[in-house]
Symmetry: C2
Subunit: 248 residues, 2 copies
């Protein structure tokens, strides 16, 4: 099996994803927010690329069952119920609700994959749960593509570190995947500076932007490893928690 | 001053380049080929994004003074005089000639920068010569943007290692630039695996593709540090050697 990492959403073509398990990562903040919402009881999170699409969908649904959420330039979209801060997605707010979410980079990367065997959303907060799925797929001979949301077509450190942690986690105990250039580098980055996740988030470009915009408390929420152990998977264009399977 | 690195040509927008010294890197093989050609006496190298553009330009020029060169999928474009193997660009072949060059990723990244204070082409073969220009610019307060050609909008290891070596070379002895995420990571990658350049080129994705396509000998040519000490700069859409300035 092979693991490829793509440092921004646009880097992965359909042939890179077809038949593979595709893991989409946007640590700051969409994938953290999605895992938080689903772990706190949201029924589903529906990712949208554009604000207009999300708004149009909301009009077709019972507003009591739906939460419209998202950001542009880090700030809550005007008229939306919530922004993209994982701390907003508490059980009181989201339990039983369907969340329509649109963010600057993350949700676009989540709706793009075509022909994937499975689309999974990962972050630090659900690392070990997602890793178990990836290792199962790799053992069964399925290659992995890890798509970092990045920012505007560019590399972001926090997504690369998280991607590298997944690469390292899969490449252990009996699994020796072939790694492309970006996968090798991601693993190296995580080894080099992934040790203190919160410090890394505070030092990276987007972390500093979030601090400047008043979202400093989000960094600790995004840095918590395994705080929200859920595996969000795409089913019929909605992200839902993977049902816990019985052990045989 | 600030140093930003972009891991593929499309990642850098005009605002990222405006007023900066822009270094374009395509180690395998365009920037190595350009430095080799200019050091061996070519009058100029004119980069083209497309084969048709290069061919059309050749028709307007005296064919005795022009060499049409380039590759697609690593192989010499049919009907062209030369491919993109630096070993082809010997003094006997290129001295006094203008080379029209089009390659899959590198030359497109070279024609794109608009509004840059200076566009420079770098590789391992002209590292120290180019570094001197970059350090001079940084000392004078000009920020740097290092654009890796990458491959089809993706990260490539060899360009990132070379970019990181330039980042490290500038960030020494009295210059402490602010580094973006990608610049930090590039420096880390060079520190981690840049020690043996030829071994790195043999192990990276595109190096393995070149070996498989029969271009193994090019890797040693591209790995030679400072073998072709010339600083190719863009002047009126042509790459020419920066004239050696007198010391004051």
């Amino acid at each position: 099996v092979r693991i490829d990492v793509f440092f921004h959403g646009g880097a992965a073509g359909q042939s890179d994803l077809s038949g593979r398990v595709v893991l989409v990562i946007d640590v700051l903040r969409a994938s953290t927010t999605i895992a938080t919402a689903l772990h706190n009881g949201a029924r589903a999170v529906v990712p949208f690329e554009g604000v207009d699409e999300a708004t149009a969908r909301a009009r077709t649904l019972d507003r009591r069952e739906v939460i419209l959420a998202g950001e542009r330039r880090m700030v809550t979209v005007p008229g939306f119920d919530l922004g993209n801060s994982p701390r907003e997605f508490t059980g009181e707010v989201v339990a039983g609700k369907t969340i329509l979410l649109t963010t600057t980079n993350g949700t676009a990367a989540m709706v793009a994959p075509q022909g994937a065997a499975e689309v999974v959303i990962g972050a630090f907060v659900n690392y070990t749960a997602v890793l178990a799925l990836l290792r199962g797929a790799a053992r069964a001979g399925t290659s992995l593509s890890i798509v970092c949301a990045g920012s505007g077509g560019r590399f972001t450190l926090e997504d690369a570190v998280c991607a590298g942690r997944f690469v390292r986690g899969v490449s252990r105990r009996g699994i020796q995947p072939e790694l492309g250039d970006a996968a090798r580098v991601a693993a190296m980055i995580d080894r080099g500076i992934g040790g203190d996740v919160e410090a890394m988030l505070r030092a990276c470009d987007h972390g500093r932007e979030l601090i400047a915009a008043g979202y400093e408390a989000d960094l600790a929420a995004c840095a918590g490893v395994d705080t929200h152990p859920v595996v969000p998977v795409l089913r019929d264009r909605q992200l839902v928690p993977l049902a816990a399977r019985k052990r045989r």
